[in-house]
Symmetry: C2
Subunit: 246 residues, 2 copies
């Protein structure tokens, strides 16, 4: 009998942000597959096999999960945040597309609290108007496309959330991102660095593009940029619901 | 003693998507404030006062919540989905900005599963690459700005999520939105209508822009548009993680 794969979002870190739906899927699982630090967030128990894997092996990890399900196991693939936002859901469907016999596996995607919304909540309401989410990693797309998207998003006056702003393999790129954003949005635009949000390591820093430095972001940071109307209000930052013609 | 206001997201409908953090805030509340249908999702209990209000009175509702907190109550303001995405968080900060004495109130925003991510999960992974979220209501912004954002987002090849696509007061506007999207993205682009997602009334329909009709959306629908690489795969729709130069 073919089993199933549930691709679940563990949220950004706090156990209080794991949905009951995801907790139930984990309670019924026989196998948990995922990047090591995310698998480490799942409590071990008798009968549950944990399969931690390295970073950047998403397709192999997805195929492993699908193979386990083909063998009748109840598999949960864990992502941080939401599995559909720069995480394992697309990788799993890519693995199915490459090997269509996997279409026999029942797949369920269970949403989670994605980092940008957890960060926004801690800060106030910086994404309270139209916004976009951009993955700054150029592993999977060319740099000119990232630059083009940044400029068009700025011209649309979207608030923005940036995932994977910086990694050891591309230390200079985020500096270029900040240059592009300053060019399009000006030095006064608010930018927020939210690191390890909802974990004990949480650090949140709000500044302006003029004051922003590349090393304010690391691999655990989601970066938010306000739109032209985003403002400080006491200890909060928020974006009004209304807008004038652009 | 001044109380506090927690602005919480109830998720799209299913109780299994309410985070433990939000459940705890509701368990400790003395007062729940919100749009009637959302307040109706909160279980009544002795000592809890429910304050349902009409649609489109967000600022009055926010001021009411803040007044209750100034009087020492523990107030929870409920939104559907996530409170920071086209919901009550920005309205509350607007109310504070208009009457800064409200800065004495401790405010917490507790994130929830927003409709676009719940819809995407049910469909597969249509938002698995860069994407944007646009509120199509022109109550709070001029129509030319909406059109401009749609065209720039299409030129950036974002996947898109549309909130508030259609209402009784503006029946013809969503037809114009579809015309703009067809003009920018072509007839073959995939579009998904997710109505009342995760509730007993859930209906999900995937089609192309060429076949899309305005009445496929209503007030309870979130609409997702694929990017140029979004494809069907069995009963799923997904967007690959990678992209070529635009």
């Amino acid at each position: 009998m073919t089993g199933r794969v549930s691709i679940v979002g563990l949220g950004p870190g706090s156990a209080a942000l794991v949905t009951p739906e995801v907790a139930a899927a984990l309670a019924e699982a026989t196998d948990v597959v995922g990047y090591g630090p995310y698998v480490a967030r799942v409590s071990s128990r008798p009968g549950l096999v944990l399969h931690p894997s390295d970073n950047r092996v998403e397709l192999e990890r997805a195929a492993h999960a699908l193979d386990l399900a083909m063998a009748g196991r109840r598999v949960v693939v864990v992502s941080s945040g939401d599995p559909g936002v720069f995480a394992m859901a697309s990788a799993l469907f890519e693995a199915i597309e490459r090997s269509p016999h996997y279409l026999a596996v029942e797949v369920a995607v269970l949403p989670g609290i994605t980092a940008m919304l957890a960060a926004a909540a801690r800060i106030g309401a910086p994404l309270g108007h139209d916004f976009c989410a951009i993955n700054l990693s150029d592993n999977l797309k060319p740099w000119p496309l990232i630059e083009r998207r940044l400029r068009l998003a700025a011209q649309a006056d979207f608030a923005m959330a940036f995932y994977n702003p910086r990694s050891a393999s591309r230390p200079h790129q985020f500096s270029q991102v900040l240059d592009i954003l300053r060019d399009e949005c000006g030095d006064a635009r608010l930018i927020m660095f939210a690191r390890a949000v909802t974990t004990p390591d949480e650090q949140i820093h709000t500044t302006t593009l003029g004051e922003a430095e590349p090393d304010m972001a690391d691999m655990r940071t989601v970066v938010l940029l306000g739109n032209g109307a985003t403002r400080r209000l006491g200890r909060y930052v928020y974006t009004p619901r209304s807008a004038r013609a652009g």
